[in-house]
Structures are given as structure tokens and as C-alpha cells.
């Protein structure tokens, strides 16, 4: 679903008053328009993950507001926000329950939009899942009753992607979700991501360290440093940029090795 | 594979149960009788052994099996058990075989043990302590096997005397509340306030104290009370009572506190407060005086009842007994410790259990 995400003047400090004090987000302003696919770059410690955590509700910012489709979700409980937000992490283990089957995992993820049925795993929903899984083209539709923990990293991540998007969220957050996969699986998952995002027109934020990905996918690239946006590429300027050039800007604008 | 191994193992256990079931009560019980009565050395073992040669009990009549079941090991409980064994042996009854069992503090095992006794068809069951007796009642409900309980302070409240209890009788270790107060006023005629200390989870102790409190209420005697849940709370409890200006401390037949007499008396005597207790073993361990349960006496009375039942008396004809004699003991060394000096007349009727110099006559 196409939604607007507005990050308004968000600030977050950690360990205030101690020697470890860190300004993770510094009056950050960012607006993601409906259906926009933004790739997010930045060195370690620049605030990318803190930003995601603030959007998801794992952190409450010290100042500022976060608005999703003009609804102020800054202080909303994490699981309430999850109704509209899907998230995928680098670690394929994080987004799934290893001892439940694929079918059961999907049924849980689908809770948000499922029909009022008594049993979590029922024929109608399972049929829908089968179609969705077949779409992934990984043979998972034949293994719906397999425990999630038995799948490979790539398969798990693909299933996680499906789980994150099956309930048609307003916003999709991707935190280096292919970084831990082998090149083949990474390629597969990225193409799936592109396909699903463009099909459902989900507003997406993707963190990546890969310069190629940053430019090849999405329609806007943002670079962060020290809790601020230092580069915002879109349109022609972006399509003319090469990964090499982007890397150069990266070294110039960010504090390396932090 | 798993299912196969599951079935094999279950079958193995069934087989095991069958074998042990068939080997029956005979062998193991004589041995366990010998083991658990080891402390009482000769008498206990003799109890186990006389049944063996008199195994020709078949010759002079049916062999009668008596099972004594105790919930845990404790001086008083062991005393009861050993006395019963000794008394029956001393009566020269070679046709009575005694089996002793101990649940070692595991209340859920009581049911198992008593079920085993029932399966072994013991002729008379002797449960020691309230919960053991209650479990025996439930297990033997509707049966005719006589049960002779020992050391249940309130058999009526424990449900051992109403309808459906024709087969149950025994000896209660109740201490009349009036006697307790008499005990204290005997040594401290000017006392103003009594302090009661008891363990909240011990039925016997609680019922004794409740009766004492009711008596005090009726007779306008002021008192304070503190209950503990485990031994570590004893020190705080005693200090609390002392701070409330009690003149004397009293604890009934309480297993938990009985095992902590040393620290109990240390604190109390340092403040010159005498400690009165409900059992002779507690006096031997430092308490000042007791009018209480002499577990040897209790054991004797139980043994008497068992012999009567063995000879054919029906439990319904034998109402449960309370102690016919109370143990009245003093500890002179304790008196020294809390600086008490009493008139000779106060000691009349009391047996000296521990001399001034510490010599103990306990268990003699």
C-alpha cells in the first residue's frame, strides 16, 4: 500500500551525560513519498539502525515526530505499529519462528489481515499461502509443513520477505537483508524484493552497504552520517551516478572506521 | 524406532513390576526393619530377627504384619517407632512381624508407600503424624484393615473419628492447654505475658498453640505470637517477641523448631527469658521445662493398642486415647543460662533431664 512516511526533526541521544554519550540521530528530517523505494547508505554508527528502531517502536526518540500517513506513531506500542510495518533483518533467524512450520509462520504473519477464522492454519488461507510461495519459485510451496528451522538461509529470508509483505503493509523496512546470504541467494531475494515492492507499491526503506544495490534498486538514495542526511539522490542525478562515484562521495562525506 | 523403544521400555517396566510384585513383602521388609531401627541397636534388630526364627509363626497361627509409616526422620518420630517395635518385641509376640517405612520428607510418596502396604496386605497399619494418618484413611477407605495412628494432635479435625472411621483408632499427642499455662505459672507465678512461637505449616504445633491461645483468651491471659515458615526466620521471630516484653516463651511439639533449639535458646536466654517447650527432646536440647509429650509413653500406648487389635479387638471398640502421663522435665543447665533461680518446691514433680553441669539423662 502506498503510504507516506514523515520523519520530523527526530533526535536521539544515548548515554546522556556520560563519557559514552552519543548523538545517534540529530534533528533528522526525511519524507518518503507514497510507493517510494529508498536505499539508505551510511557508515557504521551513522544512525541507520537507530532510525529503523525508532520507526519500529523499539526506541522512543527524545525529540521529534514520526508520522505514517499523517498518523503520529512516535509513541505507539511496537506490536501495534507492526500492523502497518513489515521488517526484514540481516539475520535470517530473526524474523521467523524456527520450531513452527512455514505454514504456521505465514499464518501468524497473516494475522493482521486474515479472515475471522478460529484455526490459525485453515484451508482458505493455506491455499493463498501456497500461491504466494509458488511465486517465490523456490519449491517452498511443497514444503509448507516443514519446520522453518530446517530451511537454508536464503529460503528462510525469502519466506521472511513473504511474511513481511503478505499483509500488505504500509511501510517495508529492510536492514541489509541480503548481507548474510551467498551471492546466488542474495540475487534471488533482491529480485523478489524488487518484484513485490513494485507490484504492491509498498513504501520501502532499504539499508545497504553495497554501492551497486544502492543505485540499482529503488528510485532514491540517501546517505547518512552522524545522525543527519548528508546526501539525497533522486531522478536524473541518481541515474547518472555510478557506484564508483558514489563510493567516492561516501568516503568524502562520512567519518570512516567509526 | 522411538515408538518401538518406547514400547520395549514400558514392557520392561511392567515386567519389573511383576517380578517385584511377585517376590512379595517377605524379604525386603525384614531388612528395612533392621536398617531403619539401627539407632535403637539391639532392640530394633531383635524386633526384626525374632520374626525370622519365629517364622514358624505359621505353626502357632497366622502371621500378623504390622507396618509403621513415618513421614520423615526426626528424633521424636523415631522414638515412637523404636518404642513400638521394642514393646511388641518385649511382649514376646513371635507371630507379629514389623515393617517400617519412611517417606523421607516427600509427602507425595506417602500415598505410594501406603498403597504398597495395602497391596502387601499388611494386617495393621500404624501411621505416625497427621498427614500420614489422613492419607492412610483415604487409601484404606471402605476396607477393614485396622489403622492405629500415633501422634495426631487433633484426630477430630483431621477427620479420623467421624463416620466411616470404624477401623481407625490411635493415640493422640495432644497437650491440654491448661497444662501449658500451669507449667509457666508454676515457675513464674508473676508472669504477665506469654510469647508463642510455632511453625505455620506444622499441624500439631499449630493446633497446640491455637488451643493455648483460646485458653488464654478465656482466662484473660495476655500473649503474643509469631509464626515462622522455615528455620531461618526463627531468630527474627524470637527477637520480635522479646521486644514485645514477653516474660516466657512457649513452643509446642514442633519438629522444625525442635531442630533449632540451640539458636532459639541462645537468643532467649541472653535476654533472661525462659523457653518452655512441648517435648522432652526439646528440653534435652536446651529448653527449660516441658509438660509435654513423652514419645516413649506414646509409643507404649500405641504398642498396647496394636497388641489388643492383633488379639482381635475391633478399632471401633477402642476410642482413641490421649496420653495418660505427661512428661514433666526440667533442664537445670538452662536455668543457669538464663539466670533463673527457683524455689525447690517449684521443681516438685519434675524430673531433671539435664543437670546443672550439663550431664544429660535423655534416652536413658
Amino acid at each position: 500500500m502506498s503510504s507516506t512516511l514523515k520523519i520530523v526533526d527526530v533526535t536521539k541521544r544515548f548515554e546522556k551525560g556520560t563519557i559514552n554519550e552519543k548523538l545517534a540521530l540529530d534533528h533528522l528530517n526525511l519524507t518518503a513519498g507514497p510507493g517510494e523505494f529508498i536505499t539508505l547508505l551510511g557508515s557504521n554508527g551513522c544512525g541507520k539502525t537507530t532510525l529503523f528502531n525508532s520507526i519500529l517502536g523499539n526506541l522512543i526518540p527524545d525529540e521529534g515526530r514520526i508520522l505514517l500517513d499523517d498518523e503520529d506513531i512516535t509513541f505507539q506500542k511496537d506490536y501495534k505499529r507492526a500492523y502497518n510495518i513489515g521488517c526484514l533483518y540481516q539475520n535470517p533467524l530473526r524474523g521467523t519462528a524456527p520450531n513452527l512450520t512455514i505454514e504456521e509462520n505465514l499464518a501468524l504473519a497473516y494475522t493482521r489481515k486474515a479472515s475471522r477464522s478460529f484455526f490459525a492454519v485453515n484451508r482458505k488461507d493455506s491455499q493463498y499461502f501456497r500461491e504466494m510461495l509458488a511465486h517465490l519459485d523456490m519449491g517452498l510451496e511443497d514444503r509448507m509443513k516443514t519446520k522453518m528451522g530446517l530451511l537454508s538461509g536464503g529460503q528462510r529470508q525469502a519466506a521472511s520477505l513473504l511474511m513481511a509483505t503478505i499483509a500488505q503493509p504500509k511501510l517495508l523496512l529492510l536492514d541489509e537483508h541480503t548481507a548474510a546470504l551467498d551471492p546466488g541467494a542474495a540475487e534471488k531475494v533482491m529480485s523478489l524484493t524488487k518484484e513485490i515492492v513494485s507490484r504492491d507499491k509498498i513504501t520501502t526503506l532499504m539499508i545497504t552497504h553495497d554501492m551497486d544495490y544502492a543505485l540499482a534498486y529503488g528510485d532514491r538514495t540517501i546517505m547518512m552520517d552522524s545522525g543527519r542526511v548528508v546526501l539525497d539522490l533522486a531522478g536524473e542525478e541518481r541515474s547518472k551516478m555510478t557506484p564508483g562515484q558514489l563510493a567516492e562521495i561516501f568516503y568524502r562525506k562520512t567519518r570512516r572506521g567509526v | 524406532m522411538k515408538r518401538l523403544s518406547a514400547m520395549l521400555l514400558t514392557a520392561a517396566f511392567m515386567a519389573g513390576t511383576v517380578l517385584t510384585g511377585c517376590s512379595s513383602a517377605g524379604n525386603n521388609t525384614a531388612e528395612s526393619a533392621a536398617e531403619t531401627s539401627a539407632p535403637q541397636a539391639q532392640e530394633g534388630q531383635a524386633g526384626g530377627e525374632t520374626s525370622a526364627p519365629g517364622g514358624s509363626g505359621a505353626a502357632d497361627g497366622k502371621e500378623i504384619t504390622v507396618a509403621i509409616v513415618q513421614p520423615m526422620s526426626h528424633t521424636s518420630l523415631d522414638q515412637i517407632r523404636d518404642t513400638i517395635v521394642a514393646e511388641i518385641e518385649a511382649a514376646g509376640r513371635s507371630d507379629i512381624k514389623i515393617v517400617t517405612e519412611n517417606a523421607n520428607g516427600d509427602t507425595s510418596a506417602l500415598n505410594t508407600i501406603i498403597q504398597n502396604c495395602k497391596a502387601d496386605q499388611v494386617d495393621i497399619l500404624v501411621p505416625i503424624a497427621t498427614s500420614t494418618a489422613q492419607t492412610a484413611h483415604a487409601v484404606y477407605d471402605g476396607e477393614k484393615t485396622p489403622i492405629v495412628f500415633a501422634a495426631v494432635s487433633d484426630p477430630v479435625a483431621a477427620g479420623l473419628t467421624g463416620e466411616g472411621c470404624d477401623f481407625i483408632t490411635g493415640v493422640s499427642n495432644n497437650i491440654p492447654a491448661a497444662e501449658i499455662v500451669k507449667l509457666i505459672s508454676n515457675f513464674q507465678p508473676d508472669y504477665k505475658k506469654i510469647g508463642f512461637v510455632y511453625t505455620s505449616s506444622e499441624t500439631n504445633s499449630v493446633s497446640t498453640i491455637n488451643a493455648a491461645k483460646a485458653y488464654c483468651d478465656e482466662n484473660s491471659i495476655s500473649y503474643e505470637e509469631v509464626s515462622i515458615a522455615n528455620p531461618s526466620e526463627l531468630q527474627t521471630a524470637v527477637e520480635t517477641l522479646i521486644s514485645k516484653d514477653v516474660d516466657a516463651l512457649y513452643t509446642g511439639n514442633d519438629n522444625t523448631i525442635a531442630s533449632a533449639m540451640a539458636s532459639y535458646t541462645d537468643i532467649a536466654y541472653a535476654k533472661q527469658i525462659p523457653v518452655y517447650c512441648g517435648a522432652d527432646s526439646m528440653v534435652a536440647d536446651g529448653g527449660f521445662a516441658t509438660i509435654g509429650v513423652d514419645y516413649v509413653q506414646l509409643g507404649k500406648q500405641v504398642a498396647d493398642m496394636v497388641l489388643k487389635v492383633a488379639d482381635g479387638a475391633a478399632p471401633s471398640e477402642l476410642p482413641y486415647e490421649t496420653l495418660s502421663e505427661y512428661a514433666k522435665f526440667v533442664n537445670l543447665q538452662a536455668a543457669e543460662r538464663f539466670g533463673g533461680s527457683f524455689d525447690e518446691s517449684a521443681y516438685e514433680g519434675y524430673e531433671v533431664l539435664v543437670e546443672k553441669d550439663g550431664t544429660s539423662h535423655f534416652n536413658q
Binding site: 513452527l100 | 514400558t10 524379604n27 525386603n28 536398617e35
Partner: protein, 314 residues
Amino acid sequence: MNTFLSMLISAMGQGFLYAPMALGVFITFRILKTPDLTVDGSFVAGMTVCAAVTVAGHPLLGIAAGTLAGALAGFCTGFLQTKLGINAILAGILTMTGLYTVNYAVLGGQSNLYLQSQTVNELGVAVPTPSPTIYKMFSSLLGDTMEAGSYVLILTGIIVAVLCAVLAVFFRTRPGMAIRATGDNEEMVRSSSINADASRIAGVMMANGLVAMSGAFLCHSQRYADLNCGSGMLVMGLASVIIGQVLLGDGSVLRGVLSAAAGSVLYRIIIQIAYKIDMPSYAVKLLSAFIVVIFLTLPLIKAKLKGRGEAVRR
């Protein structure tokens, strides 16, 4: 053979009495994957509340009230864990400690209560009469021909079978699945927009309700409630769950639930055998611990025999 049969009946009866507790421990230990130390306290809570209500003349309500008491205890532990962020083990200990006072108060300030009440007989005298229990009611329904232990076995067996079925079905429903997932990956549950805290509390409430139900059954079967009956219950529950799991596996929830109940029965049979064996009574505890260890190492032994020696971790 009659000896063997009656021993088996009583051991199985006891096993079924403690089976709801094993089911409760299964829920916290295996499904929620947090250790719950409330058990010793909630077991007695079930027993005491049931006793108090039964003495007032309502045996069926007594069982229900006992179960509810356990659920409330579970709520406390769950609340401490989730909303107050207290470590799971500590939360259980705190509730268990507090329950001691509550249980004592429920029994009216004493530590032992026999199920009887004062009724006035024909002569106008108040005499103590035993209170009705579900087992008495059941046996009179069936004509009272067999020995008491058989009725305990049959009635409790039926109830446990129904409980297992209900649980197996429940854990396939949406709330049930949420509880399962909370134990597996709580973060994922939150991402699915489910209130993980509520799921966890619900799970702990269910578990302790079942444990308390066991206490209530025991109260009716032995006809008295005693504060000392709780110690060692958690250990018994864990041993039952683990023994059952080793023997019957836990592939599905139904299998897991049945194995917990079976484990309870098997554990009581082991204890019965241990007490039967010719040895000093104080050695029984060591023997039963030894037998449980043998059970736990069975998977290892099996793997070694197969020659693969895979590390088997449960």
C-alpha cells in the same frame, strides 16, 4: 497378580492425578521455554482453595475454583515477568513465596484441613461429616462396586484425556499459536502485530491453572489439604515432562501433550517400583534420580549405538 494389579492401578491413578501438573509444566517449560517456579505455590493454592470451597459444600465448584486460583497465581507471575520486567525465575519465586501466606489464609490460619463440615444430625447434634468429593460422586454414580483407587484412575483418566484433546486443539487456534510462537521467537510475534506480553501471560495463566487443577484433584483424592504438599512438585513435573518426551517424542503439540501425561504416569510407576525394591528407605530418592538420569541419557546411548554419535540436544 492381584498385588501387581492393584499397585499398577494406584500408580497410574497417582500418575493421572499429577498429569495436569505435568501438562502445565509442559506449557511453560517446553512451549513458552521459560522456567516457571510458581508451581510449588500454585499447586498448593489449587489444593487449599478447592478444600475451602468443598468444605462449604460445593465439590465441583471446588475443582473449578482451585483451577482459577492457579490461573490467578499465573497471572501474577506473568505480570511480574512482562510488565515489570522481572527475570522469569525470580518472578516465579516471588509469586510462590507470596502464595504461602495466601494459602495459609485460605485454610483459615492452619496448615491442614480435612474435607469435612459440621452438619446437624437427627438428634440435633452437630457432627463432623465428610464432604462430598468428585470421586465419591463418581463412584456412587457407578454403583460403588470397585475399590476407591479404580474410581480415581477412571475419572481422572477421562479428565486428563479430555484436557489433552482440548490443549491439542487450542494450540492450533490463533491465540494458541501466538503462545507457541511467543516461546519460539517473541520478536517475530511482535512483528506480526500480536501482543506478545498478553500471549505470555495467557500461557503462564493456563499452565498454573492446570497445576492447580492437579492440586485440587489431589485434595479430593486424599480428602485433605496440607500446606506441605507443594514441595518438590516442580521437580516432579519436570521429570514427568522429560521422561515423556524421551520416550514418546514431541513432534506435534498433540504428541507433546500426550507424552507429558504419559510421563507423569510412568514417573509414578518408577517411584512405586523404587519403593518396592529391597533397600533402605532413605535410598529411594537416589534410586529414582538415577532412573531419571538413565532416561535422559537414552537418546545419547541410542545415537552412540548407531555409531554416529550425533550430539543430541533437547
